[in-house]
């Protein structure tokens, strides 16, 4: 019985690492997504080209290989990262590439008349973007951002391969020490699912809050 308590603690420690990775990776992904997504809409060719290159490269290569590259190849150039740093960087850049396309699509979905109102009111390009276009576009982005965050959560399991003690890694530890496969893997399956549901719930709440008043219903 005491042995199992220790194993539960291991799994919970793994859960903390997974949550940390998901949160930090999501923040990085969000920042990168806005930079690259807006970069693709830039007036300047060089900015557009750079943003496009980033997006296509990170969507077009395996996240698994990207992570290995960050962790094992970067040190050859003198940049050594801790497993956590490498994990956050790999996950954030990968998911950020997908989310960048979400940002671009959402911004482009805002009608021409909103841009024209900005011009007629003499708002600068960035002022209009910041106060008029992005707040409306963000609402369009949210559901897909939820998908991206869940993808990121699930992708965190690959960091176990660079020796980061996340949920999947700890389940492996428990399995090798107890010889039991069903309990540890079923447990983490449930935990991953619960975390994904938490993300879904959070996004839905945020969506409801931000869309308040937009549909004519006084909330």
């Amino acid at each position: 019985m005491t042995a199992w308590a220790g194993y539960i603690e291991l799994i919970l420690e793994g859960a903390v690492v997974t949550i940390k990775l998901t949160l930090m990776g999501s923040v990085l992904a969000l920042v990168v997504a806005f930079i690259a997504g807006l970069g693709r809409l830039s007036r300047f060719f060089a900015v557009r080209a750079l943003a496009t290159a980033y997006i296509e490269f990170f969507r077009g290569t395996s996240i698994f290989v990207q992570l290995f590259w960050v962790y094992f190849v970067l040190p050859l150039f003198g940049i050594t990262l801790t497993p956590l740093q490498a994990g956050v960087l790999g996950l954030g850049l990968n998911v950020g590439a997908y989310a960048a396309e979400v940002v671009r699509g959402a911004v482009q979905s805002i009608g021409k008349e909103q841009y024209e109102a900005c011009t007629a009111l003499n708002l600068g390009r960035w002022q209009g973007m910041r106060h008029v276009i992005l707040p409306q576009a963000f609402l369009v982005m949210l559901p897909t951002f939820g998908n991206n965050a869940i993808e990121l959560l699930k992708a965190t399991s690959i960091v176990s391969l660079i020796s980061l003690a996340d949920l999947t890694f700890q389940a492996q530890v428990v399995r090798s020490q107890t010889g039991n496969t069903m309990v540890p893997f079923t447990t983490i399956l449930v935990i991953y699912f619960a975390l994904a549901m938490l993300i879904t719930w959070g996004i839905r709440r945020l969506e409801r809050r931000l869309s308040r008043g937009l549909d004519g219903v006084r909330a």
Binding site: E113, Q114, A117, L121
Partner: protein
């Protein structure tokens, strides 16, 4: 005689192969109320959009208060205007759109205060005070905290008028501002514009299919067809004694369609 506030000189504009404006010239005097009428595709809306810098011209010149709109004078040469120059020139002009174009995520009050706060650096308190005055004038002060989605079309358009006025433009452009409204809501918007015309010395350009309103509102009516001014004159001359055959047939069609003259 005072100088014209708007001087349009031989401007042309094409959309693809379709030439909307072909060497058009016209002038507007300060404080003048102008109605632009004509069939759709005749170029009247394009003129407003060009004045608001929503469309660029292919050729010609426009002066606002004697200053080039699309050009900058540098060492005696005319260069294409940059964004900074356009920003400066846009301060003189405001526009109200057919579909209101309110910001749906901002309250009525925030719609009106946003541009003064951002473009003129007006402090929030002062911007809100002015906004309430303007909303009061258009009869919308009691809806200041509402969201646009909670308003009728006529109410939205009155807010849009207040929003444009908040920047105190010298020239106001009204682009078919009642065309998208249910018939019973048209008058509340027209009444606001009547008041505006009576109480301010703003220059107003109005594109409209409301011939009755154009008749009462305008000092001068321009009839457009094929990107050219076919006929212009005082409302009585145009509506009661149109000289050009094209003007006559257009007005006949409009009356047949049930518009008041």
């Amino acid at each position: 005689m005072p100088a014209p506030i708007i001087k349009i000189d031989a401007i042309s504009k094409s959309f693809g192969a379709f030439k909307v404006l072909d060497g058009l010239s016209m002038q507007v005097m300060p404080g003048e109320k102008l109605a632009l009428i004509g069939p759709s595709g005749s170029g009247k809306t394009t003129i407003l959009r060009i004045l608001m810098t929503l469309e660029r011209i292919d050729a010609g010149h426009i002066q606002i208060e004697g200053e080039q709109l699309y050009h900058m004078e540098r060492n005696g040469q005319l260069l294409p205007a940059d964004e900074r120059h356009l920003t400066k020139m846009r301060q003189k002009i405001g526009m109200v759109f057919q579909l209101f174009n309110l910001f749906p995520h901002k309250s009525v009050l925030d719609n009106v205060t946003l541009a003064p706060m951002l473009t003129k650096g007006t402090p929030r308190a002062a911007a809100e005070k002015r906004a309430f005055e303007l909303l009061d004038m258009v009869g919308m002060a009691d809806k200041a905290k509402n969201m646009p989605a909670q308003l009728s079309g006529g109410q939205k358009q009155r807010v849009a008028i207040a929003r444009a006025l908040a920047l105190s433009p010298k020239i106001m452009l009204f682009d078919e501002v009642t065309s998208a409204l249910d018939p019973e809501l048209v008058n509340e918007v027209l009444n606001v514009m009547r008041r505006l015309a009576a109480e301010t010395d703003m220059t107003m350009l109005l594109v409209t299919h409301e011939m009755g309103f154009a008749h009462d509102f305008a000092d001068r009516v321009l009839f457009f067809d094929g990107g050219k001014i076919v006929e212009e004159g005082k409302p009585d001359e145009i509506f009661s004694h149109p000289k050009q055959e094209r003007t006559q047939s257009f007005l006949k069609k409009i009356i047949a369609a049930g518009h008041r003259v």
